[in-house]
């Protein structure tokens, strides 16, 4: 942690409305992913199951800080960003079940999806492959002068990859309206941060001549403040920002991985920093009743129950769909 004092911040007064909205989305993300995990264990979801458990504050803060006209390159720990930007729990389920009516019609699976019509760009396994594309989305904003900002996420493991450097350098040269968010969740699969990089990631911002900020990624309020200001700077032509959000991956890399390589003390430390529990504590201090908060949990469970039920019965793709459309776009 860069600054452990920030874990119980003397942050600016919480606007309860925003705080409750954050709570609602973080809870929906948590409930939805827990259900996905259960469905995966039951064999009802194929392939891998990746979750963002413990990291929900970061995508929540970011997605609540952007405009609908902005772009987001969302990665695999960021379910809340999809939900906040309008993708329904049912659409998520259709995708995970590989249904014909899901966003990829069964052609891609697990967390590899996004609804592009909502200006969310779908991720691939090769991280941070979305970064160069985020650069192109932002360059387009510069050329069109449309003031749209592009927020792109990655983990600390991605910062070892060449395309990460190429993108930050390029974005800096052109002062692109980008915000690059590194979710430093301490582990890239089993590789700990000290096998990934030396020094502090945020210090790399100096090398690129851009602004950098390292903060507690499990503090949704601090995270939101940082995103609002980075997005505003990008929109005003002041160039990209590198945000390093300190957090912890609380599940394994994916469902099959028990993360036995993570020391128990580290797990315990971060369990005590759960972003949802911390927000609830804060909301209760400000007068929110337990019943009010519980309402978000029960509403999320109902929404996810309904989504599972409806999506499970949706039509599967047929073998004819394999090549029925779309390797190439048809010339107009």
């Amino acid at each position: 942690m860069a600054d452990s004092a920030r874990l119980t911040p003397a942050a600016p007064a919480l606007h309860s409305e925003l705080g409750l909205e954050m709570h609602r989305w973080m809870v929906l993300s948590r409930v939805l992913e827990d259900r996905l995990f259960a469905l995966w264990k039951q064999g009802r979801i194929r392939g891998r199951l990746l979750t963002g458990r413990g990291q929900e504050a970061i995508p929540t803060a970011a997605a609540l800080a952007v405009n609908p006209d902005d772009f987001m390159c969302i990665m695999h720990r960021d379910m809340a960003a999809h939900l906040i930007r309008g993708t329904t729990a049912e659409t998520v389920m259709l995708h995970y079940f590989g249904k014909a009516t899901g966003p990829s019609g069964g052609r891609d699976g697990d967390i590899h999806f996004a609804e592009w019509e909502r200006r969310n760009f779908p991720m691939v396994s090769h991280l941070p492959d979305s970064f160069p594309i985020a650069l192109g989305l932002a360059l387009t904003s510069l050329l069109r002068k449309d003031r749209a900002v592009t927020v792109a996420f990655c983990g600390e493991g991605s910062t070892s990859v060449g395309a990460w450097h190429e993108t930050l350098n390029f974005a800096s040269v052109f002062r692109c309206p980008n915000v690059f968010v590194v979710e430093n969740n301490q582990y890239a699969y089993s590789t700990p941060a000290d096998r990934q990089y030396r020094g502090r990631l945020v210090d790399r911002a100096l090398g690129y001549g851009i602004r950098g900020e390292c903060l507690d990624g499990n503090d949704v309020l601090a995270m939101h403040e940082a995103m609002v200001s980075a997005i505003a700077r990008a929109r005003e032509g002041e160039g990209p920002t590198l945000i390093e959000a300190m957090t912890m991956r609380m599940d394994g890399h994916a469902g099959h991985d028990d993360a036995a390589y993570v020391p128990d003390e580290l797990k315990a430390l971060w369990r005590a920093r759960d972003p949802i529990e911390r927000l609830e504590l804060r909301l209760r201090e400000e007068g929110a009743t337990p019943a009010l908060l519980e309402r978000n949990w029960s509403a999320a469970r109902e929404e996810v129950d309904a989504a599972v039920e409806s999506a499970w019965g949706a039509p599967d793709p047929t073998p004819e769909d394999l090549l029925a459309r779309g390797v190439f776009a048809d010339p107009a």
Binding site: R107, W116, P122, P132, A163, F328, P331
Partner: protein, 331 residues
């Protein structure tokens, strides 16, 4: 290049590419050129000379030396509705952008219906003594990737027409322009709107004795061979594929149905190259039209060498092609 109305007299292959870029920049405000040294310098080969001065730095963008970011940026611009034409300084550097092309550009439409109308210009081919990293013909690698179109012009008019057709195509298109043709090929050039879509081969010389199937840098050599052999009485047909993806197998099969003999010629290396694909399809679909085994002439399975004697032995020569033609005629 002298421009006479819409006909440019005595244009080079390089000037034809520049003319296509110029005319697309004029015609389509969405078109943006992106690349290393393409603006102020006008490109390492001067293909884009004069375009920055005419269209400005928001249409002709000099970038850092970073091919993954360059191609990725092109994808990002394309999915937002611009029409980026990315220049890789040499086709060899496409290896640095492989991931963005193969993992992202090629699969976005299949996965999510997201079109990527981007052209990546790749100056390819040898013959200039430029060695293993400035001489390669990587088109076969990418012809193997579903979701990418692969274009290889072999004439001045095609350098122009196929580039405009590539821009008009809503898919990622790799445009392999052969460096050895840049200033060696000349003809009158008709500057016209994009016409037929990508995917049609062209018979460059009609004949009935044997079909030479080729594309790109090997087309002039195949025409020379056809000239030499036809002087001895055997009329060769030269079929220019023009695009490897889509591959116009109907044209290949129609020609082979007429001639019964075929030699496939490419500068790309032999094994698992495009010639292997064509030979396999002919054996499955045109077996009873064949009067002789399908022959291939290609670079050997080795990196492209630098020294003249090595490079001359590496790139299929007129003599090597002619020898294969005679063997196939006598088989």
């Amino acid at each position: 290049m002298r421009i006479v109305g819409t006909v440019a007299a005595d244009a080079t292959y390089l000037e034809a590419i520049r003319a296509a870029l110029w005319d697309e920049l004029e015609a389509d405000p969405r078109l943006v050129l992106l690349g290393e040294d393409i603006g102020v310098l006008g490109g390492a080969f001067r293909v884009t000379a004069g375009l920055l001065e005419r269209f400005g730095e928001e249409r002709v963008i000099d970038t850092p030396i970073a091919e993954a970011a360059l191609v990725g940026a092109g994808i990002g611009m394309a999915v937002r509705g611009l029409r980026p034409v990315v220049e890789l300084q040499f086709a060899d550097f496409i290896s640095c952008a492989y991931d963005q092309l193969v993992t992202e550009a090629a699969k976005l439409h299949y996965r999510f219906g997201i079109a990527v109308p981007m052209v990546v210009r790749c100056p390819s081919g040898g013959g200039l003594g430029a060695g293993p990293f400035h001489s390669q013909n990587p088109e076969g690698v990418f012809a193997h990737i579903p979701g990418l179109k692969v274009v290889c012009p072999g004439t001045v008019q095609d350098a122009y027409d196929l580039l405009r057709a590539s821009v008009a195509d809503p898919n990622p298109v790799l445009f392999f322009e052969h460096k050895a043709l840049y200033r060696s090929l000349r003809s009158d050039l008709l500057r016209r709107r994009a016409g037929e879509p990508l995917g049609r081969a062209a018979v460059r010389r009609a004949g009935s004795a044997l079909t030479l199937v080729t594309y790109g840098g090997m087309l002039p050599r195949c025409l020379e061979v056809a000239e030499r052999v036809s002087g001895a009485g055997d009329q060769l047909e030269v079929l220019d594929l023009r695009t490897l993806v889509p591959l116009d197998m109907e044209a290949v099969k129609a020609s082979v149905a007429k001639t019964g003999r075929v030699v496939i010629v490419h500068e790309d290396t032999l094994s698992s190259g495009l010639g292997a694909e064509i030979a396999a399809r002919l054996s499955a679909e045109s077996f009873f039209d064949l009067d002789a085994p399908v022959s291939r002439v290609a670079a050997p399975d080795a990196p492209a060498p630098a020294a003249a004697p090595l490079e001359e032995a590496y790139i299929p020569s007129v003599e090597r092609i002619e020898e294969a033609v005679w063997q196939t005629l006598r088989a």
